[in-house]
């Protein structure tokens, strides 16, 4: 197992270098260091001298990928790419182009993102599985058909509609919770109720249909027929046997997203004023803040690779037949 994990970690290195190069090239195709300086310095009274000063201060006065003026190895190291990239592999994200420490910002903003995403995932999972099992329980009845129709309708509606509608009905008309905002500690609960509720509701349509498919496939297997033949009730068959055996595909979907929950949700956080990481990357792209863009893309890649690794490991926990080698 340990050898497998080490091997996977080593596979990740070239992948991350590739992602880093791609981010760098894509960013600088669109923006030049001069453009970045102009955007940071504002629109008034920006002179060439001020741009030169800004580039020098922020380390953008070097060549992008190759330094002809330097000697030997410095031709590679005395470049914007090397100077801005090498620290990433030690998780030293440095200072953003607007002057803030990126690691400190990420640490501060990851927790509110998690405060919304984790309960949304947990409650959503529970609700989706419960409804899916009920639909399987009542399969081939008008209840299953009705449930499927409702699921398709729910899937067809934009998540933005749920957010705006939820805010309008629950926060504006009924005045039950604040429409937006955030507090630390337990005081956050009243701000999280609505986004979590909406997050869960918005995911019911697709979630229930997905889990229903998994359970139906499992319910048609021989061991289920055997269980029924032994006289177990339908609910006992579903909740004790089918649910347990359907865990592998459920885990595949859940564990892989666990690490990325830190990255937050752009629309949800924006509408509910949750000070999370959801808009961090988009804001950075709009502000041409390359330091943040590269850090967030790198972090996203690392978390995704980590999520895939976790999924593989979790298989061994739920299915003793799986061995990693």
């Amino acid at each position: 197992m340990i050898a497998y994990i080490i091997r996977r970690a080593l596979y990740a290195v070239p992948l991350l270098i590739g992602v880093n190069i791609l981010t760098f090239v894509l960013f600088f195709i669109v923006n030049s260091p001069d453009d970045m300086a102009r955007l940071q310095l504002g629109q008034k009274h920006v002179t060439e001298q001020a741009i030169t000063n800004w580039k020098q201060q922020h380390g953008y006065d070097l060549p992008l990928l190759w330094n002809d003026q330097a000697e030997a190895g410095q031709q590679l190291t005395e470049t914007i790419f090397y100077q801005k990239s090498v620290g990433l592999f030690w998780f030293h994200f440095g200072i953003s182009d607007s002057g803030r420490n990126i690691s400190a910002d990420i640490r501060e903003r990851a927790w509110p993102s998690l405060a919304v995403a984790l309960p949304s995932l947990a409650v959503g999972l529970w609700v989706d599985i419960a409804f899916a099992l009920l639909m399987v329980l009542f399969r081939n009845t008008y209840l299953e058909f009705g449930g499927l129709v409702i699921c398709v309708i729910l899937m067809s509606v934009s998540s933005l509609f749920y957010i705006i509608g939820g805010q309008f009905i629950i926060a504006k008309l009924m005045c039950l919770v604040p429409i937006s905002g955030y507090e630390e500690g337990f005081a956050a609960i009243k701000f999280l109720v609505l986004p979590v509720l909406i997050g869960v509701f918005a995911g019911i349509g697709s979630g229930v249909r997905w889990y229903r498919t998994l359970f139906l496939e499992e319910a048609s297997k021989d061991y289920v027929r055997t269980a029924r033949a032994k006289g177990l009730t339908e609910s006992q068959v579903l909740f004790r046997h089918v649910l347990k055996n359907a865990m592998i595909p459920i885990l595949t979907g859940v564990v892989v997203v666990l690490p990325t929950l830190f990255m937050g949700s752009l629309i949800m956080e924006s509408f509910f004023s949750i000070p999370g990481l959801g808009s961090y990357t988009i804001d950075a792209i709009n502000n041409q803040d390359f330091a943040i863009v590269r850090a967030m893309v790198f972090l996203g890649s690392v978390l995704y690779v980590f999520g895939l690794l976790l999924t593989d490991i979790s298989y061994t926990l739920v299915d003793p037949r799986v061995r990693l080698s």
């Binding site: 669109v30 923006n31 030049s32 453009d35 102009r38 955007l39 940071q40 310095l41 504002g42 008034k44 009274h45 002179t47 001020a50 000063n53 800004w54 201060q57 200072i95 607007s98 002057g99 803030r100 420490n101 690691s103 400190a104 910002d105 501060e108 903003r109 509110p112 099992l133 009920l134 009542f138 009845t141 209840l143 705006i164 805010q167 009905i169 926060a171 504006k172 008309l173 009924m174 005045c175 039950l176 919770v177 604040p178 429409i179 937006s180 905002g181 005081a187 009243k190 701000f191 009730t233 339908e234 609910s235 006992q236 909740f239 924006s270 509408f271 004023s273 000070p275 808009s279 804001d283």
Partner: protein, 718 residues
């Protein structure tokens, strides 16, 4: 789950009981209050911000959303009178207005009416009030022995710190003249990247040399260095020496750039390790203003708290004639500030922002296009007034024409549209008539704007009202108002220019003109279509070249645009701050200046050079009218509009007067917290019965399933 399904529940009686109890219940507690209860103990103003400020360092900050914070914290020596109009500069931390001494090239003093050509230097001698103190701050905390407590922190001491509030001790000291001099040196230091550094090199004596000397030195090194143009005469007096005569310099002294900065702050914040915690001078201001930044989380909330050491300052005793009738002088002479705490919450979306305002959780609001119809209605006379629902809530509307100008510029280097030739001028004039700004304002701005008649917006010296102020090349004065000329006049001008019916005589095809803009979003499409239609009136085919900001800037710098959209917001209320946008030596392509259209007219330039150094006299007014006439005739711009600011305030918000120049207005404002608490209670009563209804519906949905399941489990094989 199975046990749930097999439960025998007296569902209907239970639900009925719950329904009756909920309907009988009249909840008195407000459930949707986003603020903590402790806020009720003090006078708190609730505001929002939609964009994170980039800088809170007064040497760097230059945008409106940054000034919303730092103008309450930092104090330049001067400020704008809150009520008087036209805008008037008054002392803030000084005893009186600066003493201005003109000097010749040998340094000898000249009389105040000396010819500008004789004036080699101008001295501004500024005398501070004694006893003004800084806010409590750890940078100023001292040990019992008199040394600074936090100026030599090691890594171990810094490790547990996360914000400025984690420092156990704070200190304060008196404001000194040296602090203002220190800030001017900071403006010059290249490492501070002040946006006005390049401008000040032209004015403050020795500024450029100082910048060269400081270039490779650390930020803290400037304390011991001398700058010839900024010198502390004694503890409470300093002198700024500028080149020549530049009367507008006094306005710069009312901007946060020239605020006081204690050297201790720079030493404190430049300790290694603090920047890793985002504890920097750019994020944690230190000032003498009415408020200090008590909480700094630009991703969520910024809180200003009343500065316990704020110097005695009182509400103005006089204003405009109508101010007394409007209740703006009720607090005359009372000590400022009136509000204890200001909470700014980050609110990116307009829907929750607007809802919170209507619920009473924000005290003031702007009006987004989405909410315009809800907030404003057209009156019978074509004016705009608050809608009935807003009036029922007691909301107040305040409007003010902003000191900004938006325009369509012609690139005067363009072979077709530019230059001083008669055909090109007539073509530009025809386009100016064809673009119906009044229609634009009505369609796209809900009437929130005033069509521009010239370079200057209302409120700036030199702006002429009524018939003398109209652009006679585009408007006629009819029935006591400016009426846009008929399109036939524009067509006639086109014919005289050689483009009859918009046909290019060279190609015999419709004339094609390119419009460069950054309007790339879907929302911008209707505007672009509208522009095309305006040009179609003349038979001209308009091609919109929408690009991102970077490419647009590149085109402007290279002079590759034909027509472009641009705007300017006043730095200070002086005509020089607008006319310099058309001054030849400020041309963008040739000199990298702010004259984006590269307009150059020697007669205009001469008048500008004469006007810019003058005081606001009748002679200056006449020169401005001549300049306006030249620009209207040459038409390097299609004068667009001056936006009209619409602001809404709740009934409990007092002392409201739009001041487009001052940014430190929070100290004058007043909140009636009792009235606000009553209204919030009234407007936010929770409604619980729909929850019950949903519960009943759910039960009704589940009940058949439950019955079906029971039936199935109790079935016997037949």
């Amino acid at each position: 789950m199975s046990s749930f399904l097999s439960m025998k529940m007296p569902v209907v009686p239970l639900l009925l009981m719950l329904l009756v109890s909920l309907l009988a219940c009249q909840p008195s507690t407000v459930l949707n209050n986003p603020y903590t209860e402790t806020d009720n103990q003090q006078t708190v103003l609730y505001q929002s911000f939609s964009e994170r400020p980039k800088h809170l360092d007064p040497a760097m900050a230059y945008s409106e959303n940054e000034y919303a914070f730092i103008a309450q914290i930092y104090e330049p020596p001067l400020q704008y009178h809150y009520l008087q109009r036209p805008y008037q500069i008054i002392p803030l931390t000084t005893l009186n207005l600066p003493e201005v001494v003109y000097r010749d090239d040998k340094g000898a003093a000249l009389p105040s009416d000396a010819e500008p050509t004789r004036i080699a230097f101008t001295d501004y001698i500024i005398t501070l009030q004694a006893g003004i103190r800084y806010q409590p701050h750890p940078a100023l905390a001292k040990t019992e022995q008199g040394g600074y407590l936090y100026h030599h922190l090691d890594a171990q001491a810094i490790a547990p710190l996360n914000t400025l509030n984690d420092f156990a001790s704070t200190g304060s000291r008196e404001l000194l003249a040296e602090d203002y001099v220190y800030q001017i040196k900071r403006l010059a230091h290249p490492k501070n990247q002040s946006p006005i550094a390049e401008i000040m090199k032209n004015y403050i004596v020795g500024f450029a040399d100082f910048a060269k000397q400081a270039k490779d030195l650390p930020k803290t090194a400037i304390k011991g260095m001398s700058l010839a143009g900024a010198v502390a005469v004694n503890e409470h007096q300093y002198r700024i020496r500028i080149n020549g005569k530049y009367p507008q310099f006094i306005y710069w002294l009312a901007m946060p750039f020239f605020s006081a900065m204690p050297w201790e702050a720079e030493v404190f914040y430049n300790q290694p390790g603090l920047s890793d915690k985002n504890i920097t001078l750019d994020w944690y201001p230190i000032g003498t203003g009415a408020y200090y930044l008590a909480e700094n989380n630009p991703n969520r909330r910024m809180i200003l708290q009343k500065n316990p050491y704020y110097h005695p300052e009182s509400y103005p005793r006089e204003g405009e004639p109508e101010d007394r009738a409007n209740g703006l002088l009720k607090d005359a002479g009372k000590t400022l500030p009136f509000i204890d705490k200001v909470v700014f919450t980050l609110e990116k979306e307009t829907i929750p922002y607007w809802t919170k305002f209507l619920q009473g959780y924000y005290d003031a609001s702007g009006i987004a296009s989405d909410n315009f119809d809800q907030a404003i209605q057209f009156t019978g006379t074509g004016g705009l007034a608050l809608s009935e629902s807003m009036q029922a809530k007691g909301i107040q509307l305040q409007t003010a024409v902003q000191t900004s100008s938006f325009y369509l510029g012609f690139n005067m280097l363009d072979p077709l549209l530019g230059g001083t030739s008669e055909p090109a001028r007539k073509l530009r004039q025809a386009i100016a008539i064809a673009i119906d700004q009044e229609e634009f304002i009505a369609i796209f701005m809900n009437g929130r704007g005033v069509a521009a008649q010239g370079v200057l917006p209302p409120g700036i010296f030199g702006f002429a009202e009524g018939q003398p102020g109209i652009n006679a090349n585009v408007y006629d004065w009819q029935a006591d108002k400016a009426q846009r000329k008929d399109i036939a006049v524009a067509k006639q001008l086109m014919a005289e220019a050689g483009y009859g019916n918009g046909i290019d005589p060279k190609s015999h095809e419709p004339l094609i003109i390119y419009f460069d803009t950054t309007a790339t979003s879907v929302e911008d499409k209707p505007r672009m279509t509208w522009y095309r239609k305006q040009f179609e009136k003349l038979g001209i085919q308009l091609v919109v070249r929408a690009t991102d900001y970077n490419r647009f800037q590149e085109k402007m710098r290279a002079g590759n645009a034909q027509i472009f959209g641009w705007g300017w917001n006043a730095d200070y209320p002086d005509p020089e701050n607008f006319f310099f946008l058309l001054y030849g030596p400020n041309g963008k392509v040739k000199y990298g200046g702010e004259n984006a259209g590269n307009y150059q007219n020697p007669a205009f330039d001469r008048l500008f050079e004469q006007m810019r150094n003058m005081d606001n006299t009748p002679e200056r007014y006449q020169i401005i009218q001549q300049m306006q006439a030249i620009v209207r005739q040459d038409a390097p711009w299609v004068f667009g509009l001056h936006p009209k600011q619409f602001s809404l305030f709740h009934s409990w918000f007092g002392n409201l007067k739009a001041n487009l120049m001052a940014n430190n207005e929070l100290k004058y404002r007043r909140i009636d917290t009792a009235a606000r608490a009553d209204k919030r209670q009234q407007w936010n009563r929770p409604i619980i019965w729909p929850l019950l209804l949903v519960g009943v519906l759910l039960v009704l949905l589940i009940l058949p399933a439950y019955l079906a399941y029971r039936k199935r489990t109790q079935e016997t094989l037949s």
